[in-house]
Symmetry: C2
Subunit: 168 residues, 2 copies
């Protein structure tokens, strides 16, 4: 009944970051699912993550606040869709927590526009790490690309791997 579906990626609509990292996937999973860890790596420096609250189950809240170098704060509230330990984490900002429909595509493209998927596969002693952002149309993908998806998500992953290696 609840077997996982294949995620259908469409290169015209979606963005994908695929990397091999030399830390075990259990630690990558912990980095994605522990608020105190998320705060350490989730935002590309000099931005910071000042708040993180999560309710790690389908329908649960994924809430972060990011602060820009000049002190502006950005609230991000999403809803988890799948929580498959050490394998796959899916959430969307199109739904609010509890599966309530969100406010629809915003003018500034900042949130309410994507479903994010993190897939982890063991690879030797390390991890094949795949991050996917699904969008509704080419325009949303383009905006996300222009916001710096590849560099942003890549930098955050570097920060995460460094955190894991520090052992904190």
């Amino acid at each position: 009944m609840s077997r996982l579906i294949d995620i259908a990626v469409n290169p015209k609509l979606d963005l994908v970051l695929e990397r091999y990292v030399d830390v075990p996937r259990e630690k990558v999973w912990a980095a994605w699912t522990t608020p105190e860890q998320i705060k350490q790596w989730f935002t590309p420096a000099p931005w910071t993550t000042t708040f993180c609250e999560l309710d790690l189950r389908p329908g649960g809240r994924f809430h972060t606040v990011m602060r820009s170098p000049d002190g502006q704060e950005f609230n991000n509230v999403g809803c988890y869709l799948e929580v498959a330990e050490n394998e796959r984490l899916i959430w969307t900002d199109v739904l609010k927590p509890g599966y309530r429909p969100g406010d629809g595509p915003p003018a500034d493209g900042c949130c309410g526009f994507m479903t994010a998927i993190i897939q982890l596969e063991a690879h030797g002693k390390g991890t094949k790490y795949t991050a996917i952002a699904l969008h509704r149309d080419e325009d949303s993908r383009k905006k996300h690309e222009d916001m710096g998806f590849e560099e942003g998500w890549g930098t955050c992953l570097d920060q995460m791997v460094a955190m894991i290696k520090r052992g904190s």
Copy 2:
């Protein structure tokens, strides 16, 4: 990890139909999850359901086509979010199958606007049946109410119970 969250109903935003029906919940579950059965009860007569295809798992497709008495067809495509056999079925038309964000709130309010939850509880030999529609705002709730949520969903439930009692 994957325990069910409580659904937070807000009377200002949501619509709820609660009824006791004298058929067992396993049969109500089958009526909601079998295309050949859905076609028999899903649309208030004289409307008909001419097509039903479903992939019954989180992220899977819930697709129906309804035909009006004068032959107009309406396509409804949603995405399942939770499939808890005999207990709870949740889907939304805010996401397309595979969790892809949909097109946002449409001008006609016809789809892309709600998350639906069917909850079944055993009650003697029958079933306590709760159908909930979650909306993003009061306007969406009002539109859905004006479209005839209570009567429409109630009539469909009567049709479903009649179908189950016929044993088809």
